[in-house]
């Protein structure tokens, strides 16, 4: 049995565990752990099993445990980073219009309460019952399940300009993105004082969250840009295989294992010794709106497409290999001595020597049609988390921007980098460590 199949089986086991009321005997049998007196609520099951090492959580693959799940807003790290991808995203960048740091703090406190409530599937605030007032919650998510909603907050470099006196607190890692090859950035999809990633298994629930955050912040923040995105849903792909992007290729095969804490500390979480104390346990989120030249791509041959990615379209396997998760061997040659995986292919450049890693959490987007050309405005809302973008995302993208064969088919028209706060403890609020 391959490692991948093994993972799949474990994912299915976990699904089974979460979907079905468990008898205590079931639990012990499946987990293979002994001992009596396990008093666990349904929510506690998977946590304990993971802690016991009995079941490995899926590696950034959707958790198809139904759509009712609650992902706790509170914790050591913000949810929505190593959380398995949900079906939908609504990303929102805000600009602050207040110049008072107190206002910002109060806003973050109100957002914390709202985000925690929405994550639990509750309304953002209790209703007053006063018929002469607009309802406190906008209501479109009433009765809907929590849908594994996560809300992840970060701040952009502009947050540290002269307005709030926080310039000295700006992390060195929160750089202005350099110009990359293939950039055709449009101001309407760039930057923002605050970035909020809302992911959910239900688009209406995600929209509800963004809408209510914007409403709560009215007068203090304005929306700068938003982008919705999707992946295949759990219902469409119960096996939870690697999602495909709109070019038809599997995207995210090489992601690091999010259950490996040591690896996550290396790749994703900012560490105390990184130089910015308030960011310890946080992460840097790079967001890129990448339009795909869909029409052009659709006219290119299968061989071209596979040479461009360096993978087989159908299986996702590296060129010359059979299985998706087969190791990438950039030295492999064909009979004529030519590299099996072209040196300018996306995989060859992105993989490199394997030393630079990021955690990708991308979604496809479709935003109707470009009215000027009549072509589809569709592509990838690329999101990745990393511990220090100067050492991870930026050098990677510089390499890709200059050489990637894929550049013929894509254009980057949006870009932003946010410092995502460490997690919030109960009673605390987002950004607390910074203020």
């Amino acid at each position: 049995m391959s490692e991948h199949q093994d993972d799949q089986k474990q994912t299915q086991m976990k699904e089974h565990l979460l979907n079905k009321p468990l008898s205590r005997r079931d639990l012990l049998r499946m987990a293979g752990i002994g001992g009596a007196g396990l008093l666990l609520g349904a929510a506690g099951v998977s946590g304990v099993l993971e802690a016991a090492g009995a079941i490995k959580a899926p590696e950034n693959k959707p958790n198809h445990a139904g759509n009712g799940g609650i992902v706790d807003f509170y914790g050591e790290h913000q949810a929505g980073i190593t959380t398995p991808s949900q079906n939908f995203i609504m990303f929102a960048a805000f600009d602050l219009v207040t110049v008072s740091l107190d206002d910002v703090r109060v806003l973050f406190q109100a957002w914390t309460a709202a985000a925690a409530a929405v994550s639990r599937g509750e309304t953002v605030q209790a209703e007053s019952g006063n018929e002469n007032l607009p309802p406190a919650d906008t209501g479109e998510a009433a009765g809907l399940s929590p849908s594994r909603t996560t809300i992840t907050f970060g701040v952009g470099a502009s947050f540290f300009d002269s307005r709030f006196g926080l310039a000295a607190r700006r992390p060195a890692a929160l750089v202005d993105m350099p110009a990359f090859g293939g950039d055709e950035l449009r101001p309407e999809w760039c930057g923002g004082d605050i970035g909020v990633q809302v992911c959910s298994d239900d688009m209406q629930v995600a929209f509800h969250a963004v809408r209510n955050l914007a409403r709560i912040g009215r007068g203090k923040v304005v929306l700068r840009w938003t982008q919705e995105g999707f992946q295949r849903t759990g219902a469409a792909d119960p096996a939870g295989s690697t999602p495909r992007n709109l070019l038809g290729f599997k995207d995210g095969t090489g992601n690091p294992d999010v259950t490996d804490n040591r690896l996550m500390n290396e790749v994703v979480w900012a560490q105390p010794e990184d130089g910015t104390d308030w960011m310890a346990g946080g992460s840097y989120m790079a967001v890129r709106r990448i339009r795909m030249r869909i029409e052009v791509w659709d006219r290119s041959t299968l061989a071209d497409q596979e040479q461009t990615f360096g993978r087989h379209r159908s299986s996702g396997a590296p060129l010359g290999s059979a299985n998706e998760f087969d190791p990438i061997d950039l030295n492999a040659k064909d009979d004529t001595g030519k590299a099996l995986i072209p040196v300018r292919s996306h995989v060859a450049l992105a993989h490199g020597d394997g030393s630079v890693r990021i955690l990708r959490r991308s979604y496809s987007y479709s935003s109707g049609m470009d009215n000027k050309t009549g072509q589809l405005d569709a592509g990838l809302l690329f999101i990745c988390f990393n511990r220090d973008s100067r050492k991870q995302f930026i050098p990677l993208q510089q390499k890709l921007g200059q050489n990637d064969a894929l550049n013929e088919y894509i254009v980057h028209n949006g870009s932003a980098l946010f410092a995502c706060f460490p997690g919030v403890r109960q009673g605390g609020y987002i950004g607390e460590t910074l203020f």
Partner: protein
């Protein structure tokens, strides 16, 4: 306009809450929505009811004052139209309308007068279309006063009718609370987009007048609001200041620049300032809360 009905419903809801509170022990198992919806903190708070009579009287006086001036100014405008004085007619058009735009919530409560005075093309059947915007089209599109002299006369009549009805109309507290938000909603749905004055592009006059009308209501309610929720009151005050400051930058002499002079980012900024104001303003209903 459903405002009166709405207020009646709210009044009933409040009285139900009252009843529920005075006998709450007997009703503790009752799942009546109106009762359970009222938060206990409000229900047990000491009743400090707003004395609406002076507030409503003051608003009526204000509205009548605006309506009076609307008649005299419309008279001048109509005279210019009928005498074929295109320049004067065009100059008077936008400032005249402001007296109407300030008191639109009350005008809207008066049956068909609002469409008669203020309908835009396609808002009503072509055969019924009259009022300011009909004349606006004549002046700016057809470039003549000749076609619209008839409409000018009817406009003057309609403003007089408005003034007469204002004496008798019942002004309910909820009309004030919702009317202020309504004025800003008008701004954000048609004025800030340049749809209201599609021929003359004098939208910023209407914009300013709607804001002034809303601010008048806020000022009348300010003291009571402050007692009930000082934070909300100051938030609204600040938001009015921010909006007025921004609006001032588009002043041109006694009036405002043409809508066509606005850039996309101007429109966006004004629109966001309106949203920032209208959100706390929509909370003014707290002073009608269960007391």
């Amino acid at each position: 306009m459903r405002t009166n009905l709405k207020w009646a419903a709210a009044a009933i809801a409040c009285s139900v809450v009252f009843t529920g509170c005075s006998s709450n022990n007997n009703n503790s198992g009752n799942a009546n929505a109106a009762q359970t919806a009222a938060p206990s903190a409000d229900a047990s708070a000491p009743a400090e009811s707003v004395n609406w009579t002076p507030i409503i009287d003051a608003y009526r006086q204000y509205s009548i004052g605006q309506a009076d001036t609307l008649i005299t100014e419309t008279d001048k405008f109509v005279t210019a139209v009928k005498s074929g004085d295109m320049d004067t007619a065009k100059k008077l058009y936008a400032p005249t309308r402001m007296y109407y735009e300030r008191i639109e919530p009350i005008a809207e409560a008066l049956g068909d007068l609002d469409p008669d005075i203020d309908a835009r093309e396609n808002d009503v059947d072509a055969a019924d279309w009259r009022g300011f915007h009909r004349i606006e089209q004549g002046l700016w599109v057809n470039n003549t006063t000749a076609d619209v002299t008839d409409f000018a006369d009817r406009l003057l009549d309609d403003t007089k009718k408005l003034r007469a009805l204002m004496e008798t109309v019942d002004i309910e507290p909820s009309l004030l609370v919702t009317g202020a938000v309504g004025l800003l909603n008008e701004v954000s749905s048609s004025k800030v987009t340049g749809e209201e004055e599609r021929y003359s592009h004098t939208d910023l006059y209407d914009f300013a007048a709607n804001v002034e009308g809303a601010q008048k209501i806020y000022e009348l309610l300010k003291d009571d609001l402050n007692k009930k929720d000082a934070d909300l009151e100051s938030k609204i005050g600040t938001s009015f200041d921010n909006l007025n400051k921004a609006l001032d930058t588009y002043k041109n002499g006694d009036g405002y620049v043409s809508y066509t002079d606005l850039k996309e980012e101007d429109t966006k900024k004004l629109s966001q300032l309106i949203d920032a104001l209208a959100e706390p303003l929509s909370q003014m209903g707290v002073i009608l809360g269960a007391e």
